[in-house]
Every structure is written in structure tokens, then in C-alpha cells.
């Protein structure tokens, strides 16, 4: 959907992640970029250079916040200090929507700093949805949850990943940050059809799409965000756009970061597909 209540009724185009190695280029050349995605946690500080730099970016560019440690799926309650800092940042950036992952990563106060996979159970879906609602009510901004890449599955799962995603977003009445690379990675790691996953996603809830590169190992694929997007992922992206309609799209590139121009050019390949007319959901 081009604009919906899960992305603040915006029509953002193609964005890229704001990364430190590109700061000098951005401030000197002032390139035209539809929007930047920032990692919220990098700016949830009290002062200093991170906030000074962010303020300079905000003078010129639109910014959307993407979090990596809200851990909606962790059994423990939301971290109040995290929420307080996040809300201060939301006020600063005026992000039209906010995203984080459908995963867990902390328990009993210890943090893994990783996106650990959920058991696909009704208990977990109910609990996760409750936390998404609590965060949205406190932060007063639409929230979209992102499907993660995973490398493990649990005996206790009661449904597929896409059924779990639907269960959570329906219960929470929240948006989806659809990561087509993550669908591809998990489909290879867990032997499922990525198109079956894509076709089950409620298009009207998709606030944003992520694309990225990954690394292939002998027995599994790792979501490393250190390569260009591969053709099968572009095909999935094309399919998603056909089903959902033009959608704000973001290229993730977090390691072995290329030049700004190279990264931006890779992201803008999405525009070839992102103007496609909406077709009936297949």
C-alpha cells in the first residue's frame, strides 16, 4: 500500500541506512535521498556527536527509526528506560512510523544483542502482540514489526512463521516491515516456499520493505547485510510489490560498507519494480 495507517499515511520512496562512513559524503555533497533509516539505539544517548550529527541530518532529510533491541518477543516486560529514551528520540526525529523486529533477545535482564527466533506458539503471539500494543500506546507512533532471518526452529512451534506473523499483527493491530531478504534466507534454512510466505502476508498492513544481501555457507545462509541484493531476492521483491503496491523500501548494508554512491545506486534498483501497478493478490 503506498500510504496507510501503519506508515503514517506517507509515500516515502527508496531509502538507505544512515551509516557513519557516509557522514562526510552526505554533509559535503548533500545528495538527494528520499529518506534515511536510522538505528534508533545509536541515537538513544544524552548528548554529544550522535545527536549533533542526527540534528544536521534532520535539517535536510526525512528519517525513519528502526530499532534492534525492543525485543517484543522476550518473555520479560518492556524496558521502561528503553521506552523513555526511544520516545525522546521519536519526538526529535518526528518519525512517521517506527519499526523493530519480531524476535526476542533478552531474558532475566541479560541482553544477547541478537535477533533470536520466536517459538511460533499462540502463547508467544499473544504475549508479543500485547507488548507491541503497549509500546505503540506509550510512544504514540505507528509500529511495524519486521520478520527476521532465522537459523533454528523449535519443537514447541504450533504454526508456520507467516501464520505467527499474521497472528501477532492482527492481535496487535500493527504494521509489518516486510524483509524479503529475510524471507529468502529463512526459506533456504528451513525449506519452505518463500512465495507461499509472501502470498500470506496481509498487504494492507505492510508499512515498509527491507531488501539486503546475505552470505551463503555450505549448510545455511547467513543474513550478513554485506553484499548486493541477489536476483532471487529482487524477484521476491518484484512479487511483493505486485501484490502490495509501491511501498517505502530500504536497502540494508551494515558490513563491508561500500561508497555512498554504490550503496545508493544498489538501493535505487528497487525503483525499477516499485512503480509497478497493483495487481490482485494472488
Amino acid at each position: 500500500m503506498p500510504a496507510n495507517r501503519f506508515n503514517g499515511f506517507t509515500e516515502y520512496g527508496t531509502g538507505i541506512g544512515l551509516r557513519i562512513p557516509h557522514y562526510a559524503h552526505i554533509f559535503e555533497k548533500k545528495p538527494v535521498v528520499d529518506w534515511f533509516e536510522i538505528i534508533s539505539e545509536n541515537y538513544m544517548v544524552d548528548g554529544g556527536r550522535p545527536l549533533a550529527t542526527l540534528d544536521l541530518i534532520l535539517e535536510r532529510y526525512r528519517v525513519v527509526q528502526h530499532g534492534v533491541s525492543m525485543y517484543f518477543g522476550s518473555a520479560e516486560p518492556l524496558n521502561r528506560e528503553h521506552l523513555r529514551r526511544l520516545k525522546a528520540l521519536v519526538k526529535r526525529t518526528k518519525t512517521p512510523w517506527l519499526t523493530d523486529h519480531l524476535c526476542w533477545g533478552s531474558v532475566d535482564g541479560a541482553y544477547s544483542h541478537d535477533l533470536l527466533p520466536m517459538p511460533y506458539t499462540f502463547e508467544a503471539a499473544k504475549h508479543t502482540a500485547r507488548k507491541v500494543r503497549q509500546a505503540r500506546d506509550y510512544l504514540e507512533v505507528p509500529i511495524a514489526v519486521e520478520n527476521v532471518s532465522s537459523y533454528a526452529e523449535f519443537h514447541c512451534s504450533e504454526m508456520t512463521e507467516w501464520e505467527f506473523l499474521n497472528e501477532v499483527v492482527e492481535r496487535a493491530d500493527c504494521g509489518i516491515l516486510l524483509d524479503v531478504n529475510n524471507i529468502y534466507v529463512s526459506s533456504k534454512n528451513h525449506n519452505f516456499d518463500p512465495y507461499e510466505y509472501l502470498n500470506s502476508v496481509p498487504g494492507e498492513r505492510v508499512a515498509q520493505i527491507h531488501i539486503a544481501g546475505h552470505s551463503k555457507f555450505t549448510k545455511y545462509i547467513l543474513d550478513t547485510h554485506d553484499h548486493p541484493v541477489i536476483d532471487p531476492v529482487w524477484k521476491l521483491y518484484e512479487h511483493a510489490i505486485r501484490r502490495i503496491g509501491p511501498t517505502a523500501t530500504l536497502l540494508e548494508w551494515d558490513d563491508r560498507i561500500p561508497s555512498f554512491d554504490e550503496m545508493h545506486a544498489e538501493a535505487r534498483k528497487a525503483e525499477k519494480y516499485n512503480h509497478a501497478p497493483v495487481a490482485a493478490a494472488s
Binding site: 538513544m44 544524552d46 554529544g48 533491541s69 535482564g109 541482553y111 533454528a152 534454512n189
Partner: protein
């Protein structure tokens, strides 16, 4: 299995230290085979066993936190050497896993932990502690809050009963070794890492090792602060250190000056000249701020 129990069991397995060859430990802390423990909650697939699947997460966790500590404490690594630093990092992270949503705070308990576990620094314990304190101060000074700077109009009433606070991002350190200079050399060496040849890098590494070995005890006082978003270390006199600490504690300026110069042997002329110089520098660097807000900050810390 309930959600909480599953997450506790998985986290325990993920966070258990890796073997020396960076593989998942074959046994749990209770001595049970790890493959049996993990297979109780993770399923295998046609290519990977349950424990191999968990190992992807375990290795990823350990590599991430070790890299983070390595990035935050390059000076400590130079003091201890690569192997000892790696040993220390693994032991510290096993005892003090992250308790924060941000990796920025990963090293926050390192000083206290190292004091309780001196064997990881051996004969270089005092030097290592000084470096840890300096490197943690760098992190704090980088992004801690800045209060409104006291301007000339605020200083019109300057007198013995005037109270001024110290910017919360400033860290004051009394150290036994000149680790500030060592840290500069470490930074220079790491900056050249991407451009220099292997031979040059080896030579630089040898020079750094020699510099650590030859470092002599020398009492120094530092203010780790930031200016235009860049972190600096400023050597300060013992009296200046005492005075600034007294201001931070909320003493009025007259009393803070007395505290600062309590054990000093300088003459009153010298004292006046030092004070003039310091206040001018503090004003230029924006170090002084209104005291009330600072007190509130201390309460909420």
C-alpha cells in the same frame, strides 16, 4: 515448554563461553551433554543438527560482544597483549553479560570486575586499571548530557559564595600512569592499520609493546571532556582536580578553592595566577554550568 523457560534455556546455552577453538561447549555448566540439552527445544533439519543450529547463534553472540569490547578498549589490549586481553574479555563477559539494550554500556562494569579479578592483568594490574578508567571515561564523555554553559552574564556575581556545576560529560581521573599518552600512540597505530604495509605494522606493534613495557609510574590528573563533539584528555594540576571535584560536589567557589589548594605548596600569588588561568580555560571550554541541574543528574544516576 512455556515461553520464559524456553528463552532461559536457550539464552543460557547461547551465552555459555565457547571452547578455545570457538565452538559451542560440549557440556552444560551442570555437566550434561549440550547436544542433548539443546535437542530438547531446537529441531534438527536435513543439513544441521540441533546443536549446530544453536551454535550459529552462540558464535554470533560471542563474536559480537568480543568485537565490541575490543573496539572500546584498544588501550587495554595494548597493555595486556592480544592473548591476555582475549582471555580477560571472555572471562569478563561470562561474569558480566550485557544488562543494557545498547552495547555502548558493555564495559561499564569492567573496572570493578578487574579489581575483583586481578589475575587477568597480572603484574600490570595498576596500569590496566588506569587504562580501563580512561577508556570508559572516553565513552562517557562522548555522549553524556551537556547542560547549558554558564555565560559571562552568569559569572557577573562570581564570588566566594557563588555555586557553579561541572558539565556532566566531564570525567575527572587521578591516575598512577600516564596512560593518556599511551592511548594516543594506540590510536595512531590503529589509524595506520588500514594503510600501512605488514612490515610497518609489525614494527609499530613492536614499538607499542616496548612503550608499554617501559612506561613508568607517574601520578597524573586528567579531565576527559569533549569540545565540538570531539573527546579530549586534558592534563590538569592536582589543585585543579581537587577544585573541580569540589565544584561537582556542590561546594561554593570559595570553599572549593580551599579544598583544591588544601595540601598545595603554591604561594598565594601563584594560586591567584593559576585560578585566573583555569577559570579562563573553563569558560572557553564551556565546562561550568548551573549547579541545580547537575545535582538532579547525580540523584538520577
Amino acid at each position: 515448554m512455556m515461553l520464559l523457560e524456553l528463552q532461559q534455556r536457550m539464552m543460557k546455552a547461547v551465552m555459555q563461553p565457547l571452547t578455545s577453538s570457538n565452538r559451542i561447549a560440549p557440556k552444560t555448566p551442570a555437566g550434561r551433554p549440550m547436544r542433548i540439552e539443546v535437542s530438547k527445544f531446537i529441531t534438527p533439519n536435513d543439513r544441521l543438527t540441533a546443536i549446530e543450529r544453536l551454535e550459529i547463534y552462540s558464535r554470533s553472540y560471542w563474536f559480537r560482544v568480543l568485537e565490541s569490547l575490543n573496539d572500546d578498549f584498544p588501550g587495554l589490549r595494548a597493555v595486556l597483549g592480544k592473548r591476555a586481553f582475549d582471555r580477560l574479555s571472555r572471562a569478563y563477559l561470562a561474569d558480566c553479560p550485557s544488562q543494557s539494550f545498547t552495547l555502548r554500556n558493555l564495559g561499564s562494569r569492567l573496572e570493578g570486575w578487574l579489581r575483583r579479578n586481578p589475575r587477568y592483568a597480572g603484574s600490570r594490574q595498576a596500569l590496566a586499571l588506569d587504562m580501563v578508567r580512561l577508556e570508559w571515561a572516553h565513552i562517557e564523555a562522548f555522549d553524556s548530557v551537556a547542560e547549558k554553559v554558564l555565560g559571562p552574564e552568569d559569572l557577573l556575581e562570581l564570588g566566594p559564595s557563588f555555586r557553579a556545576g561541572l558539565q556532566p560529560y566531564i570525567r575527572l581521573l587521578a591516575l598512577e600512569y600516564p596512560v593518556d599518552e599511551l592511548r594516543i600512540h594506540v590510536n595512531q597505530a590503529s589509524e595506520e592499520h588500514g594503510t600501512a604495509s605488514n612490515a610497518v605494522l609489525k614494527q609499530k606493534h613492536r614499538n607499542l609493546t616496548r612503550r608499554v613495557r617501559r612506561l613508568k609510574r607517574e601520578r597524573i590528573y586528567l579531565a576527559v571532556h569533549r569540545f565540538n563533539s570531539i573527546v579530549y584528555c586534558r592534563r590538569i594540576a592536582a589543585e585543579e582536580y581537587g577544585l573541580l571535584n569540589a565544584l561537582r560536589e556542590g561546594q561554593p567557589i570559595g570553599m572549593a578553592i580551599q579544598t583544591g589548594f588544601k595540601n598545595s605548596s603554591v604561594t598565594s600569588d601563584e594560586e591567584r595566577s593559576m585560578l585566573e588561568k583555569w577559570f579562563a580555560a573553563w569558560a572557553e571550554l564551556g565546562w561550568l554550568c548551573p549547579p541545580e541541574r547537575v545535582k538532579k543528574e547525580k540523584v538520577t544516576e
